[in-house]
Symmetry: C2
Subunit: 288 residues, 2 copies
């Protein structure tokens, strides 16, 4: 299996490194070519264009920042869809609209290749610790065939959501929305408690050992209590992008999501007035 | 130690039962006298008035529904404060305003008795399983002296928040606000996922085993996915009461809490248009 990898950002890089470390042969492409160096140092082969990658590889993983970036490497005369080998598989890890996954999947099918939706939960440090969770949906044979590769990529869990190509990205959007909601709730609580002269470190130690003892509340609670909003491991812009996707999907299925709308508004305000922060700073908008 | 107990509601009853089961001598009072029967069957002694309880007991636990109920049994010529023995202790488990705790504590001190703030996290089933978490604040000697009694009452954890009498109730309000926020977030997610043809049981199985693996998300996620909003183990009215307290405290310390305001609005709408539901139904307001 010759594996291609497109998108060596904050999260893509440790995932690609994990794949190499498990003894897989990896070919890497990145728009900013200098970012391939960390990977070629570990044994990957850098490839100059997306089109060239399609002639070398029968499996191509993409981990890019948004729907537009994924479409731009997938569509057109130099993109994945028109150039991938017959029977080759595109494994798409980006957080995108379910509808985009559906569109791309159809185009792959029409061109004799395949698309597997495989978005991922976890920050870069979770990738390095091999504690990611992949959620997958698409053709049954692909879900089975690539379970081991996703484990190699750092997946502590690979969660199968069935045939519907849209399912995995819907789950991913629900998850990121619930994380953003937790950030807002923790943020407002910590702000109120702090002004009420509570030792918020002690407060968080209590909550994270009891009713909110989960990875999300543990990690982000400490970030918020300590106001460690820079450097941004996951930027407010990316957070807003995801909340925008959540609201697009909600509109598509005619579901009101008033809390998602509140988060969207807060993130927009923060990007404008306090740029450069991690998305965990979302509740600061309450005091702008 | 002769222990009095006032407030045999959904949560007060199993807590009082726990105390008896650990071999403590318990005297019980309830406004609706018939509710004492479950306790007298187990060996408690029913007492007819609050005033009479103060002559019998040197420790009196209260677990009543709100600030007003607590003040009505505490203040006035027949209340706890004017009648409790010198050196006797009032252990207050209700979810109330930090300012109310401060007021009552001062009045107890002026009358030669003591007040210990000890609100509690956990639903009735957690009380029966002895998995409650008490948060305590007040005089250091009282916090130490009553740790064992709170464990007897079903406390898997007794968490010490120091001298400030207001601290424990502030923590309790932050906790209930974060739970309500999680209910809204889970509710909106499940609604959107369901309309997107996701198997929400499977979705919740995933989230509750991974990034949201905590008691709150486990319990309430299943309630919301299965729409088990009746009978109301914790009613929307009680939820709204707590969110109102959160916003009072926020106003007192001049902190905006826009998410708390959203929850308040949703709970008000639901009480009006879909009465009788558990507070976990909060996100249904998005579709009213």
């Amino acid at each position: 299996m010759k594996i291609g990898f497109i998108g060596l950002g904050n999260l893509g890089t440790p995932i690609a490194e994990n794949i190499i470390e498990k003894g897989n042969q990896l070919f890497v492409y990145n728009r900013t070519a200098s970012k391939t160096k960390a990977l070629t140092d570990k044994g990957a082969t850098a490839i100059a264009t997306v089109k060239e990658l399609t002639t070398t590889c029968d499996v191509i993983i993409t981990m890019v920042s948004d729907d537009k970036a994924l479409k731009s490497i997938s569509e057109g005369p130099d993109g994945l869809i028109q150039n991938m080998q017959k029977g080759a598989v595109h494994i798409s890890m980006s957080t995108i609209l379910p509808l985009t996954a559906e569109e791309l999947s159809k185009q792959h099918t029409d061109n004799g290749s395949h698309y597997l939706a495989s978005p991922v939960f976890g920050r870069p440090e979770a990738a390095r610790a091999r504690k990611l969770n992949f959620v997958v949906s698409g053709e049954a044979t692909l879900r089975q065939r690539f379970e081991q590769l996703l484990k190699d990529a750092g997946g502590a869990g690979v969660w199968d959501f069935g045939d519907a190509i849209t399912a995995a990205n819907t789950i991913k959007l629900c998850g990121n929305f619930m994380i953003a909601a937790a950030l807002e709730a923790i943020g407002e609580s910590v702000a109120m408690a702090s002004k009420s002269n509570i030792d918020t470190q002690k407060m968080w130690s209590f909550f994270s050992q009891t009713i909110f003892n989960s990875p999300i509340y543990n990690n982000y609670g400490n970030i918020i209590v300590n106001q460690q909003f820079t450097p941004a491991a996951f930027s407010m812009q990316l957070g807003l992008k995801d909340v925008n996707l959540v609201l697009s999907q909600a509109q598509h299925v005619q579901q009101n999501m008033p809390l998602a709308s509140l988060l969207q508004q807060h993130m927009q305000q923060l990007i404008e007035k306090k740029p450069g922060l991690d998305w965990s700073a979302v509740a600061l908008a309450a005091d702008l």
